[in-house]
């Protein structure tokens, strides 16, 4: 199920502002890849361009090519909803649908795409919640609103919602930044398990987290404010954090910059 992501010369704009320039990067299937870098360096923009969420904002556009197992998702005849079903996304702040119960939240992706069979929905919900390590905590209150859970549970609910549609790639945009250390640990453990089935790309500000969870790490940076973000270095996580090839990377991970 997991797929390879190939970015070639990806450049993204917000209106007239060029946010990232010429990103070239290949993510192997069934790995966790961390995108790190200072604020405003375009890592979130790059992440959002992988499942065409970037263009949701007015005036935003992407150039270059992004292929999933050889298929360019920016081709003219590509169905955006199909792309997003293949490449799921977890956001920085947990965003469960407030009008839906826990159960409805988990199966929202299926139900809103036309799956009606009760048995299928129930089965998928349990499977997704179990994968997200949330089943035991919520199995007795599936009909309660998703917004009533704690922050960490809400984020795992959002992960369950994302993996319920069985994507091939899961993008996570600082999924732990609003969470306490225990919830963060729960989600990091979860990433470790999910790696068996999905390709995971995660944006994080927390370098220990990047070092803990990822196989490969990409370091993004900008020259100065207003310049587009660029990919500085992309290598095995161990190499990046022990012996980076670029001076900038070393400065960043040792805390001398950014």
């Amino acid at each position: 199920m997991a797929k390879r992501v190939d970015a070639t010369n990806v450049t993204a704009y917000y209106g007239g502002f060029k946010a990232i320039e010429d990103i070239n990067l290949t993510v192997e299937p069934k790995t966790v890849t961390a995108l790190i870098g200072p604020s405003g360096c375009g890592k979130s923009t790059f992440l959002r361009s992988i499942n065409r969420m970037h263009e949701v904002l007015p005036g935003a556009r992407v150039e270059g090519s992004l292929t999933i197992d050889g298929q360019n998702i920016y081709d003219r005849d590509v169905d955006v909803t199909a792309v997003r079903r293949t490449i799921g996304m977890v956001f920085q702040r947990p965003n469960p649908f407030p009008t839906m119960s826990i159960f409805d939240n988990v199966v929202a992706g299926l139900r809103l795409n036309g799956v009606k069979r009760k048995s299928v929905l129930a089965e998928t919900a349990e499977k997704a919640l179990r994968s997200a390590n949330l089943w035991d905590e919520v199995k007795d209150r599936l009909a309660k609103p998703g917004a009533g859970l704690s922050g960490g549970q809400q984020q795992r609910l959002c992960i369950a919602r994302t993996i319920a549609v069985e994507p091939q790639v899961v993008l996570m945009d600082e999924p732990c930044s609003a969470l306490d250390p225990i919830s963060t640990l729960a989600i990091e453990d979860l990433m470790f398990q999910l790696k068996d089935k999905f390709t995971i790309i995660i944006v994080t500000h927390n370098m220990q987290q990047a070092a803990r969870v990822s196989d490969r790490t990409a370091f993004f940076s900008i020259e100065k404010t207003g310049d587009p973000g660029r990919l500085i270095e992309y290598d095995n996580t161990q190499k990046i954090f022990s012996n980076p090839a670029q001076k900038k990377t070393e400065d960043y991970i040792t805390g001398r910059f950014g």
Binding site: N51, N95, P98, T99, N113, V165
Partner: protein, 362 residues
């Protein structure tokens, strides 16, 4: 810069030696209020310049001044200002609620006289000036039908228009629509009545009506719809804008199409607010007299068909009864007004309950 830094103003205040401060005793505020009222009563009634209303007004002002003076002496200027402002805010609240309570009390006390089965069971057909009976059945039917049809027209149209403005509209066209919706908000009801009279009653309806202009409840509903539409559009628009963008993105990220995201995620989230906006529009429409008078013409008999012949409405009925020479008419007008308020209240409560039932219990 150095001068301002060392000037008296920006110097930090000296650290207080104790955290405790003198407070006015708890009985001070009511005591000052009673004293202020007594002084005001003596002043106003003693000199004979006014009645009880002026006593309350002067008393309230004296109370504010007295409280401020007492608090300044005992507690210092900062907390005196705090007390004076909070007293002012509370009196502003009372002032705002008083007319409302007074309206409700007047309606109930004067409306109960004719609050009987006859009022709700009969029309004004064949009721002369000397007949104590007569009711508002025809007017209730008219109000429900006219407001109902107007709501059926405005709610889908208004919500779709708001969705266009918020979710799809870009550039000049959306801006223009927004601008004209704003302009429409200010249309006086008589103008919308005249518009429907000129456009629908005099030009369009003769086509179906053997060349004669057709006054009807439906024409009144059209005029009310013109009045309701901008309210529904604007309130729905505001509510849709309040739905956080991450919710939409969350749905998009699941591969849900835009229209379905709007229908299943955005609208349900905004529903309680939209319902409130619709009910405000309904309340306004139910109280309109002029358009109904112009294009439905009123009428004393029960007419269940909104598409043919004259219809009345509660607001119009109140207007007609209040101006009627019969000595039984004012009581009917009061009861009709009470009925109208109760009707709007019931509709609002029902709509809110319905909107809440869709939300999950916490």
């Amino acid at each position: 810069m150095t001068t301002t830094l060392t000037s008296h103003r920006s110097r930090p205040p000296a650290q207080p030696s104790t955290l405790k401060a003198k407070r006015l005793p708890a009985y001070a505020s009511p005591a000052i209020a009673v004293a202020a009222l007594l002084v005001a009563a003596a002043l106003v009634l003693g000199t004979g310049v006014g009645g009880p209303v002026l006593v309350v007004v002067v008393g309230a002002l004296l109370y504010l001044a007295g409280l401020f003076a007492a608090a300044t002496r005992v507690e210092g200027r900062r907390s005196a200002r705090d007390r004076a402002w909070s007293a002012l805010i509370h009196s502003a609240f009372v002032l705002a609620v008083l007319p409302l309570a007074s309206v409700v009390w007047t309606l109930v006390s004067k409306g109960v006289e004719r609050l009987d089965g006859n009022f709700f069971g009969t029309s004004m057909n064949n009721i002369g000036a000397r007949d104590p009976q007569g009711g508002a059945y025809h007017a209730i039917v008219g109000t429900l039908q006219q407001v109902g049809i107007a709501t059926l027209i405005t709610v889908p149209l208004g919500i779709l228009c708001a969705i266009y403005i918020v979710e799809y509209g870009r550039g000049r066209f959306a801006f223009t629509i927004r601008f004209f919706v704003d302009v429409m908000t200010g249309i006086p009801s008589i103008v919308s009545g005249l518009f429907i009279l000129a456009f629908w009653v005099l030009i369009v309806s003769p086509v179906f009506n053997d060349g004669r202009p057709g006054f009807s409840g439906f024409a009144a509903a059209l005029a009310l719809a013109v009045l309701m539409l901008p309210t529904v559009v604007r309130s729905t628009e505001e509510m849709l804008r309040l739905v956080p963008a991450p919710l939409r993105e969350g749905a998009y990220a699941l591969g849900v199409a835009k229209w379905k995201t709007i229908l299943r995620v955005v609208l349900p989230t905004a529903l309680p607010g939209i319902v409130t906006g619709v009910m405000l529009a309904v309340a306004r429409a139910a109280g309109e007299t002029a358009p109904v008078l112009l294009v439905a013409g009123g009428g004393a008999a029960i007419n269940f068909n909104p598409f043919e012949n004259n219809q009345s409405s509660l607001a119009l009925y109140v207007y007609q009864q209040a101006g009627d020479a019969s000595k039984y008419a004012p009581a009917r007008a009061w009861t009709a007004a009470l009925t109208l308020v109760a009707l709007v209240l019931i509709l609002t409560i029902a709509a809110k309950l319905l909107a809440r039932r869709n939300r999950l219990s916490r």
